[in-house]
Symmetry: C2
Subunit: 119 residues, 2 copies
DNA sequence: AAATATACATAAGTTTCTTATATATAAAAG
DNA sequence: CTTTTATATATAAGAAACTTATGTATATTT
């Protein structure tokens, strides 16, 4: 007897490259967030359809910080470490750009995939 | 004096993973196409905003063929080689799946990025 | 006492691209 | 007539962005 739940689960995949945009948009909206909070928020908003893995999230946050788009404040809550991230000034500008690129991508994909509607 | 047109060009990027879906959708719609034709079609439909590079396209076609989703017919037109691709039966099924995953991705992204509209 | 939730992190490997290069024929431009 | 552009395919090297697995540590629930 096989128990293999994974076979019945949807991949719930992101298109690669969209993670940064998601992070930046959430920070734009919520002011500041910590990593674990971001994973919970995405899961909540998408009703469990998108799951951000830590292996993707933390390197992405570190890279965005290294690029100067995010700044971090470390706090201790309930004796546990939290790293709160927020957008820098250039991060806010970059967020606007990436969101419009995302919108363009979505428009293009809808034109390709659903030519009848032609948004 | 610098001539550096690339600096003024938009990245015209795809989110990684979307290329296969584009190929499969175009084949679903047009019956059969050859590689070069696909690059031209995408450029035309998106008014030059998306450009499929050969370095991405041909390996993608070969992989889809190896996975059994595409089959190929080689023809010689004007003394030049053409490889026409079309969806197999399992490729047609897979196309339906990938298109619904794309739609789900777009829905999720719109929920995340534009929570006020909540499609 | 063990499992789950919270909170971070990194290393190894895979997939999917970009960029560059290569071959070959036909047509257009200079 | 020679070079560039268009047509048509292909692959190799490297970069980017993930997945999967593992690790640490504390708090809460079972």
């Amino acid at each position: 007897m096989y128990i293999c739940e994974k076979d019945f689960m949807k991949s719930s995949q992101l298109y690669k490259g969209s993670l940064n945009t998601i992070i930046m948009k959430l920070l734009e909206e919520n002011g500041r967030m910590y990593g674990y909070e971001i994973t919970k928020k995405v899961k909540e908003i998408t009703k469990g359809e998108l799951k951000i893995t830590e292996g993707a999230l933390y390197p992405a946050l570190h890279k965005l910080e290294a690029e100067g788009f995010l700044e971090v404040e470390v706090e201790k809550v309930d004796n546990r470490l939290r790293k709160y991230y927020k957008l820098t000034e250039s991060g806010t500008t970059e967020t606007v750009n990436r969101l419009s690129e995302l919108e363009e991508f979505i428009r293009n994909m809808q034109t390709l995939v659903n030519p009848k509607l032609s948004y």
